[in-house]
């Protein structure tokens, strides 16, 4: 140990030079420090515990939405109370841990809690933070203010290949503010928005539409609302004509706003004159773009063909008759029948094909081309089915296509279609005689869907995935999200109900089964199957009765108030908006959901502990034990409970370590192949370069560490290393419960010139990324985070990080070129990063590090 100022010997000299009474006080203060340290960790553990419980509660709530559970309204009340209480505890413990460093988080918690209470009590007036929204801003949380169909329409923006007509929405509260000429007589009646602001916002929206396109006409759809319900049978459409704007679109925008205002007043007055009380309504305004054809697609027909859908198209001029298709409701949406009107010679179809007129001249010949090309028919059909899932019932989509086949979805309405009686005997017979291709797996989202199987993986291009097919994959990887938006259902061999893809499947209400053994083999590419996700069964062929029963909204659907209530609640509980801890909005005020709050708290808690020696210098003098290692590493250990064997000597060895994370880390650190890769090459130029480096930039954000220290518990490791000239912090919780598991890795510094240090950072980034860490790099500071992973993944990561610590020692000094970096990466990968026979950089597997099991950590001996 060095005797540098502030070092241990200097510290002891100072202690022994003090009078006895002061030495006693110092001893007492060391004891107090230890207890304070334990208190620090207790707060941290409490945050982990609560985070875990909240994540479980959230997953449970989400699974409830997926249709797996039978629940009632009382359950929702109780669930929100329970989860809110836990989030409150998290904010409390974070502030206790950090010396009240995050007080504004209480306010955000309180705001979200109030919103949730409002939703439960039916007070939805405060849900929309603004009275006028661009269509692209509308989400499920706005449903009470704009209606379900407008939210579904807006949600289509996430579907690849679907474009929405430009437009905006005036919420019910916005309309009320706009039309309310009289002063409110009490607070209950008062609107939340200043009237002038609402009018100005409408002006802005009109000006934006006028200024960014050629549309001079604007269609207005009136969405009537009653309480929490959208009155689905009330449909009103109007057209507003706008003046040609000058360089400044403002006057034309004000003119349009006044017309909209007049229209809203007239609707209100008509309601009043009809003797009814004034109903709430929202307004959807969209730009009418120049188009060649338009039409609608009904997700379900009223022609008695229960399994069919109907698409209609007419030329925009309205002078000619149109085409109609009756289509199957499953991919590839084959036509059952069609009615195509012949076109005169010279008629220009979309994509500029010209009609020959032959079909008119000779009616016995073919009917001629359809107005809508087949690929657009399929896309529209698939979009209508996706909307039906979202809204929970049959829908009518309206659309317009330009001459170059650029199609826009312009509107969405729920429709009422008479249903055929389901023959229960036929249904039962069908299910009992159908061949079951596979069963079991975790139900992520219930529902029934049929179609042809398409095998997919992370590299699948969404555009190559056949719309409406059944996606079958080995892993439920987040990279499959775009595919989900084109699929009718998804089945995977591996994946959890808590993962990102599961959340997307529930958002889309896409039937989803994860963890189905051998799904890829049992469901061959191209085979036609029916997925009953609620029952966790995949049948061969299309089970028409089962599909018909599913379409009868028998299961939990958006038509149920409880479903809508839960979905609305989840919008303020589940989404994770704060993803990047280095982003400017990673603040208490940036938290928009409970998930944001606990994620923020977890990150800040880990950060506090990972850097506690800097944040809490008063805890730096506590008693530690030096480890006896067969490595040139001076490592001291502080056991906070269960980290070392009770009979461990003053200088414990690896065998005395009972902390699983430390043991596994040391296995990697001492791995013989890690030392083989160690090739330090240090020149005088490097040393001089390192000496001139500003210390403050080397350790930015990471802090200056006094010594190599491992704080260990049975399932916890916080290790701060100063190996060579770099500084390294690893913070890890490792247990059976994956929701609590995390690995935090921070590395900074080095002795070589900046270019070579950056090459090492590149090397580290590649290694961390290969292990699925989320990595951020700032100069020569690299931070990696791995969360919510099972114990074996943490074990593997810790072992690799141990080896990485040895390999990376002064490695920057030998990285003279990018080729050196590549060579190092391949060498490391061959030994430590091979998975299923594949290694980072495409190298053949030469060896693989044995992964320890949680029950019996393997110890590599040199």
């Amino acid at each position: 140990m060095s005797d540098a100022p502030g070092g241990r010997q200097s510290f002891l000299r100072r202690i022994f030079a003090l009078p006895w009474s002061m030495q006693r006080r110092r001893r007492q203060s060391r004891e107090i420090d230890f207890w304070r340290l334990q208190a620090l960790f207790n707060n941290f553990r409490r945050i982990l515990f609560e985070n875990n419980a909240i994540l479980e509660d959230m997953a449970h709530l989400e699974r409830v939405l997926g249709g797996e559970y039978i629940f009632d309204r009382a359950f929702l009340d109780q669930a929100v109370r329970s989860i809110s209480s836990r989030v409150h505890h998290v904010t409390y413990n974070l502030n206790a841990l950090t010396g009240n460093g995050h007080i504004p988080l209480y306010d955000r918690y309180q705001d979200i809690r109030t919103t949730l209470d409002d939703i439960l009590s039916g007070n939805t007036r405060n849900l929309s933070p603004t009275a006028v929204l661009g269509l692209e801003e509308v989400g499920w949380e706005h449903e009470p203010q704009v209606g379900t169909s407008l939210v579904c329409l807006a949600e289509l923006r996430h579907h690849p290949g679907v474009r929405l007509a430009r437009g905006f929405v005036v919420t019910a509260e916005g309309v009320r503010t706009m039309c309310d000429e009289m002063e409110a007589v009490n607070e209950e009646q008062a609107t939340r928005f200043p009237r002038a602001d609402v009018l100005a916002a409408i002006d802005d929206q009109f000006a934006a539409l006028l200024g960014s396109g050629s549309a001079r006409q604007f269609a207005v759809q009136v969405v009537h609302l009653e309480g929490d319900e959208e009155l689905q049978n009330v449909k009103e459409h109007y057209i507003l004509a706008g003046a040609e704007p000058n360089a400044d679109p403002s006057p034309a925008a004000v003119d349009l706003r006044q017309k909209l205002h007049t229209l809203a007043d007239e609707i209100g007055a008509r309601q009043h004159s009809e003797g009814g009380r004034r109903r709430r309504f929202a307004l959807h305004v969209r730009a009418v773009e120049p188009h060649a054809i338009r039409g609608s697609v009904h997700s379900r027909t009223s022609l008695g063909l229960d399994e069919a859908m109907q698409l209609s198209a007419v030329p925009a001029t309205g002078e000619m008759s149109g085409d109609t298709f009756i289509l199957r409701r499953t991919s590839p949406f084959a036509p059952i029948q069609s009615s195509i009107s012949p076109r005169p010679a010279g008629y220009r179809y979309v994509r500029n094909r010209l009609a020959t007129g032959e079909s008119l001249a000779n009616p016995t010949m073919a009917r001629g081309s359809a107005l809508v090309p087949a690929d657009i028919v399929k896309t529209l059909a698939k979009t209508a089915i996706a909307c039906e899932r979202l809204i929970g019932g049959a829908v009518s989509l309206s659309w317009e296509c330009s001459q170059v086949a650029d199609c826009l979805i312009t509107g969405l309405l729920p429709i009422s279609v008479p249903r055929l009686e389901i023959d229960e005997n036929a249904l039962q017979r069908e299910r009992e005689t159908a061949e079951i291709l596979c069963r079991d797996g975790q139900r992520v989202q219930s529902g029934v869907a049929a179609g042809r199987v398409a095998h997919v993986n992370e590299g699948t291009q969404p555009s190559s995935f056949p719309a409406g097919a059944i996606a079958v994959a080995r892993y439920a990887s987040p990279q499959l999200t775009p595919v989900l938006q084109r699929a009718a259902a998804i089945v995977t061999e591996y994946g959890t109900t808590m993962g990102h893809l599961a959340t997307v499947a529930r958002e889309l209400r896409l039937p989803a089964l994860f963890g189905v053994p051998e799904a890829l083999r049992l469901l061959p590419e191209g085979s036609e199957v029916t997925v009953d996700a609620g029952e966790a069964i995949v049948y061969r062929g299309v089970l028409a009765n089962l599909l018909r029963q599913e379409a009868g909204h028998n299961d939990l659907s958006p038509a149920d108030p409880e479903y809508r209530l839960l979905r609305r609640l989840l919008r303020f509980i589940l989404p994770l908006h704060l993803i990047d801890p280095d982003a400017a909005d990673f603040t208490p005020n940036g938290c928009r959901s409970y998930h944001d709050i606990i994620h923020y708290s977890h990150e800040k808690a880990v950060d506090e502990l990972a850097n506690f020696q800097d944040h809490r210098p008063e805890l730096g003098s506590i008693r530690t034990r030096r480890m006896r290692l067969d490595q040139p590493l001076d490592l001291r250990v502080l056991d906070i409970g269960g980290g070392l064997h009770p009979s461990a000597p003053a200088e414990p060895t690896v065998e005395d370590v009972t902390s699983l994370p430390l043991r596994v880390f040391l296995d990697g650190l001492r791995h013989p192949r890690a030392s083989d890769l160690e090739l330090p090459s240090l020149g005088m130029r490097d040393i001089l370069s390192g000496m001139t480096h500003e210390v403050s930039t080397l350790y930015e954000g990471g802090g200056m560490l006094a010594e190599n220290l491992a704080i260990v518990g049975k399932d916890y490791l916080n290790i701060s290393l100063r190996v060579g000239y770099h500084f390294n912090v690893i913070d890890c919780h490792l247990g059976e419960d994956e929701a609590r598991n995390h690995v935090y890795y921070r590395f900074a510094g080095g002795l070589a010139d900046q270019q070579r240090r950056l090459r090492r950072i590149h090397f580290l980034r590649e290694v961390l990324t290969a292990m699925d860490f989320k990595v951020t790099v700032k100069g020569d500071l690299i931070i990696g985070r791995l969360k919510l992973v099972p114990a074996p993944a943490v074990l593997s990561a810790l072992t690799v990080l141990g080896a990485l610590t040895t390999v990376a020692r002064q490695r920057d000094t030998s990285l003279y070129s990018d080729a050196d970096t590549s060579e190092l990466l391949q060498g490391f990968s061959r030994v430590f990063l091979c998975r299923d026979g594949h290694c980072l950089g495409g190298e053949e597997q030469l060896g693989q590090l044995p992964v320890a099991s949680p029950a019996a950590p393997a110890t590599q001996q040199r």
Partner: protein, 138 residues
């Protein structure tokens, strides 16, 4: 494969004052091969039980008017062979114990997995020798 006749089906009555529970249980149990009637008020349910015999009654516990415990008592006294399954969002050891004391076949706390209830109904069907579909979730 023969089609089950109505007499071979399990006859089932569901009573829950939250319509969502009836709405969701009915098709799932029909899918299993049961004949299902649903009620959201206990007076109507008891009147129907007086008119017709049921193999199984699934009842909520906490309801307006006659609560589920009284329905359980009435059913077991008028038709001892009828099985009763209690489902409740206010599950306590005491209410569970009391339900079993009054003759309940099973006691299930809400929220519950649909598959758990179907398993329970399948057990009852098996005891009564009724045809029930096996092609459902476990």
């Amino acid at each position: 494969m023969t089609t089950p006749s109505d007499s071979s089906r399990l006859r089932l009555l569901i009573l829950d004052d939250e319509p969502i529970v009836c709405k969701r249980l009915k098709p799932a149990l029909q899918k299993l091969g049961c004949t299902v009637e649903t009620f959201t008020d206990s007076a109507s349910a008891l009147a129907r039980l007086g008119e017709s015999a049921f193999d199984l009654v699934i009842t909520d516990l906490k309801m307006e008017g006659l609560d589920g415990m009284k329905v359980l008592t009435e059913v077991k006294s008028s038709s001892p062979a009828t099985r009763v399954v209690v489902i409740t969002g206010f599950a306590t050891m005491e209410t569970a114990r009391e339900s079993y004391r009054q003759g309940a076949f099973d006691f299930i706390a809400k929220p519950f997995r649909l598959g758990d209830l179907l398993d329970c109904v399948r057990r009852i069907g098996s005891e009564l020798g009724k045809d029930l579909s096996q092609a459902t979730a476990k």
